[in-house]
Subunit: 190 residues, 2 copies
DNA sequence: GTCTATAGATGGATAGAC
DNA sequence: GTCTATCCATCTATAGAC
């Protein structure tokens, strides 16, 4: 069937999100895709390969999303605000995928693990550079820019954990609240 | 052997932290504890029971830690600062346990899951109440206190993910940086 | 490209001796 | 309180027919 690989990926995302990678069996994925488990192996070399596919494409999309939001922004303040907004909206839009990216890295063997980690590090470095430059220019308070970036990124990543489309607030509201706290928090006092 | 239950718990924490709950076998735990896997079942009813024991005692200690730090603090600002400091230092002190608490809840069946979730909700509510009161009194900017608390708690929880004892900064430095960003970020602008 | 059948390993858990 | 032995379910992955 054409598109079966995409279907397998889609149902795998659902299961990895709901129960976790190790708790999900090839059988669960096959059943949800409407095929026999052996047919999975025509499309993917093994179970880890499915996870890696999900993580790799998610990281690629996350990076493209960053570049889209940052385009045209010049000052560190503008850039950070755009980066935070983009990061939050992405984690709402791709809630399942980002949650898997955040919690299932241990399912990867050394080589694949390294690949994804390098992509994540490259992404975090972009955030860090914005903050580092902002501190350098005096737009942000002097502080350890790496620790600050860890905290900021994780805070924004967390929306994937608790955001509900049926909730009181829209995703744009969340982005506004977090941006208000974080930008004010980074600016030099009085 | 006296203390074997504690030993099992200790090596289980190590394995759950390193590889995750589902990826860890009863055999791994038994080997690390220096006994046969069947002997595990003299001390614990089943595998999940070990996980539940870890999560329950961690949540109890986290709550006691909160109360210890909050004691004597009156204003919302003082209280939030103390709560944040206590939360961060706890997550550094009990790094493995808190990381498991944060990522292995899915290993629990319904009843146990509910128990731990209620403990976590009660803890988060204490944070939320501080922020809600601070907004009410005008000490903090008017914003959705629940969303703010989710972000703040997750940001502080994140230290369990990346803090290294061998790193450049001491745990107290991290607490200072985060408190500076967050308290300034919550205070009304100008 | 999907199927049936099954290999081969490992998982959690129990029985009963000591 | 720990052991040996074992049951039985489940898991990933492969072989080979269609």
């Amino acid at each position: 069937m054409a598109g079966m690989k995409e279907k397998i990926k889609k149902v795998a995302i659902h299961h990895f999100y709901k129960r976790g990678y190790f708790a999900t069996g090839i059988n669960d994925i096959a059943r949800s895709a409407g095929i026999q488990k052996s047919s999975i192996y025509y499309h993917y070399a093994n179970k880890e390969d499915i996870l890696f596919d999900i993580l790799e494409t998610t990281m690629e999309k996350l990076d493209a999303n960053f570049e889209k939001y940052i385009r045209g922004k010049v000052s560190p303040e503008e850039q950070l605000k755009a980066a935070i907004e983009g990061h939050i909206l992405f984690h709402v839009r791709w809630q399942k995928e980002t949650l898997i990216s955040d919690s299932e890295l241990r399912g990867l063997t050394a080589r694949n693990y390294k690949t994804i980690l390098e992509m994540r590090d490259a992404y975090e470095t972009k955030f860090q550079e914005i903050i580092r430059k902002g501190i350098e220019e005096g737009a942000f308070e002097d502080m350890d820019y790496k620790v600050a970036s860890y905290g900021i990124i994780t805070m924004c990543t967390s929306v994937a954990n608790w955001f509900r489309k049926s909730g009181r607030l829209k995703k744009e509201d969340i982005a506004d609240i977090f941006n208000r706290i974080l930008l004010k928090g980074l600016k030099p006092a009085g």
